[in-house]
């Protein structure tokens, strides 16, 4: 497994689209794990995901027309129900058992549509990590949640988020604040069965530039904390605290403390490209819409800095695939995550009939 072309885990939920992307009868045509998929909202309100390739001659169903909860291929008019089974062929009565495409489980949670690309028999909506702030009205996020497309393997984005010392150098003027941030005592890494937690305090530090923009009266020094959780395959959740210097983290007194919640989701498109979904929420002055607008602009600026260096990294790695990275102590979380992921991958590959799935043919 080379660093920039990690393989896919199938039996897990992936964010596929924000709910707002499917408004007004829009269809989403995206590739997930190298498979072209169409997602649409049926007239009953149900979300449906199917192979984006008509079983007849391979035309994309995303050029088709939604009829009720069905979709009609607009090449020769075959009509599929919401399970992917053909129920009408213009000019022909007979419909065979192979006149169908694969249907994929889709679930809405936290304004996201989650898709399951593996064995549908194993899909349980309970396994989707419910990130509470997304549905908690005391937290305010973006009016429209955000999406970016990356020309990089998703694991390189996971790596990026697994070591926040990069804030000091990549994001000095946007998210970081100063280079001192990289030199703090080693953060606490807690290994989980499905990922890791990191708590990174940076005490008596400059406020992050994005925070200062919406809090121009913030003190010159703050105790800052980023408390991170990363879960396979690529879900990232972060609580951020900007507190007065020497604030007691166990205190119940939140006077002068400001907080943020952040989620980022990496869904592989191909081995070298990734769908990236994100939101950034705050819980103060939530009636003021300008806070969220400013946060989105600031964070986007920072995320574009990540995108630049990660895509450049992808390119560098593509030049020589045998590259052997040299580890740092800050790689502890990254290495644990790759170990967890590789173990899950191994188990899955021993137990799951990939061939059938990779043929792109229906599992019947």
């Amino acid at each position: 497994m080379s660093e920039n072309s990690y393989p896919f885990l199938y039996n897990c939920w992936y964010p596929a689209a924000w709910v707002h992307e499917l408004a007004d009868a829009a269809k989403v045509a995206r590739v997930y794990l190298e498979k072209p998929i169409v997602i649409y909202k049926g007239e009953s309100g149900k979300y449906i995901a199917l192979d984006n390739r008509c079983c007849h001659r391979g035309a994309p169903l995303s050029l088709g027309r939604v009829e009720g909860d069905c979709i009609r291929c607009m090449y020769h008019g075959m009509k599929y129900d919401d399970s992917g089974v053909v129920i009408e062929i213009p000019g022909q009565d007979f419909i065979g058992p192979n006149h169908r495409v694969q249907n994929y489980p889709v679930v809405e949670k936290g304004n996201l549509l989650w898709i399951w690309m593996g064995d549908p028999g194993l899909a349980s909506a309970d396994d989707i990590h419910d990130y509470e702030p997304l549905s908690d009205p005391t937290w305010r996020g973006f009016e429209k949640e955000a999406y970016l497309h990356y020309d990089a393997n998703w694991m390189l984005i996971v790596d990026n988020l697994a070591d926040f010392s990069h804030l000091a150098f990549v994001h000095t003027n946007t998210l970081g604040g100063s280079e001192d941030y990289a030199f703090v005592t080693n953060p606490e890494v807690k290994k989980l069965d499905k990922g890791f937690n990191i708590v990174r305090w940076s005490k008596n530090d400059a406020p992050a530039p994005y925070h200062l923009k919406v809090n121009p009266d913030a003190p010159e020094k703050l105790d800052r904390c980023n408390s991170v959780q990363m879960l396979v395959p690529g879900s990232f959740f972060m609580s951020t605290i900007m507190a007065p210097v020497n604030w007691d983290p166990n205190s119940e007194n939140f006077d002068g403390v400001k907080q943020y919640r952040n989620c980022q989701f990496m869904t592989p498109e191909t081995r070298s490209t990734t769908h990236f979904f994100w939101n950034y929420l705050h819980n103060y002055r939530i009636d003021d819409p300008t806070i969220s607008v400013s946060l989105k602009a600031s964070l986007l600026e920072g995320f574009m800095e990540d995108k630049e260096i990660i895509e450049a990294q992808q390119k560098m790695l593509e030049y020589q695939e045998e590259f052997q990275p040299r580890g740092l102590q800050g790689d502890e979380a990254l290495i644990h995550f790759r170990k967890v992921f590789s173990q899950l991958l191994k188990e899955e590959q021993e137990n799951f009939d990939f061939h059938t799935r990779q043929l792109g043919n229906p599992i019947i």
Copy 2:
């Protein structure tokens, strides 16, 4: 043979260019069956096709200069006669037997230049299907015949033309008229040694939109007939009748009947790209130039609808080459054509020395 990368038949005639493309000393530099070719018109009026690659160092002859019926490579000045033999090397008297490039038979018929990419000893101009309307003055076509470039294997375009039920869905508002068109009784398919005929009547149907535009007084219902012939490798001819309801096809009375003639030619450029030549002719009010202009615009609109779905289909098939298409009854003609083509391919591959040809070296 995967669906979207059909191999090539060499021993047959392919449309290479419209005659008007070679006017005013223009050279045509195109790739046919993955071979770069230059076509030019000698000063005697003769058309000449040669490898577009000087035998010396491989520079393209299409950057060269026509001198009489010869062409001079404008890199180091080698001059080729119309058979591809070098007859002058600046600064050198000796010319060797290998100082030549391959010459390809070219024939003009129906305003098209046809090229033969296979064994020249088998090339007979009599084998070119002469589509009479192209030279019949009672039919009027475009002032300049049309060309499109497809990012798709040519066989996908043949497939498209082998089942007109797609008019109902792809071309509802341009060429089709209504979706009912897809539900007509099965059309008559006649299998030929080298292709197929289809006669598709759609009785008491709405007039096709392109017809209505040039005949705004057309009745609300018509009996419509598309009578199609497809011949290997990729020649398509169609007679279209728009007749009063209940018109007798055996009648000699053409009052109120309007007709069209259409030809479309698919010439493979590569496994995944195609040259597409076409014309659309009518035989009424032929002194009125606006009819042809309107027909060209209407048909082009329709053909761009085809191009969109066929190129999307090509992309979908490229994702997973093992895709197994699921047949419909409407595929009868398509399947017969592929059978005919595959049989010819098999015979040719048993009898023709492809290696020599594919080296791109002269057959001497």
Copy 3:
């Protein structure tokens, strides 16, 4: 070895950049012989070339920051000294022996930076051919020396420069003057151990157009001489004389004689792309800056003619790699050069551990 994808010689000096490209703290990020390299000028004035890929996670050092003679990766802040050894890791005291990247010898000569991509133990600056006019104040070149990027294997550019008969056809109106130039008596080719010399007199010929532009009073006929030297891997030097008809080349009388000096350097980027560095100098009216401006414009026009035909040639050769070129007498120099080069390549491949180098890992 196909004509358009010649392999690389490692143990030799390659031009990497003009000195002016590194002014104002600019870093040069280029690929040489398929390896991404960063070149920067340390604050001491020293030039430093390193793998453009941090040993930690592969981020490009060219996005980094120069500190003294060191460079800091701006992903996680690792700081490299000028030998490529890591000397600081933020938040970590331990630095291991593999925390380093490869350093490449770089030498400044003739306003060029030369890089050595092979075994550093074999690199001797004395082996760089010192082209005297570049540092001789009686010759005036461009204010900023020139660079072009070619979509072609470097050997095709060497080929171009090995036979000047192409001036007659490619450059008739820019560098050549008339097509007669191709028909002169065969030029003298002298084979060298590391390349060749060619002396090509064209007597009683029209002045070259670029010369006429800066010498509008030049006589209608001149004796012209291009005296060329080509050395492996791809260094080209030329002396050009424009003399009165019947001028004696052995004469010490230079009345009415005008001269030029020209250098061109081809450095492989990949198998199919090339860095091209050049300058064109004159030794008359050197206080007049317009001469050099005019020469640069004229030559660039001619070089773009070369680029067009050579890149087209590359494309033609990519279509069929088995193409067998047919030799001409004018290929004598070209053939000798390829022989010399292939011999050096063979020797090197027998004696040099390419595997280690091609892994992109440090040679320790």
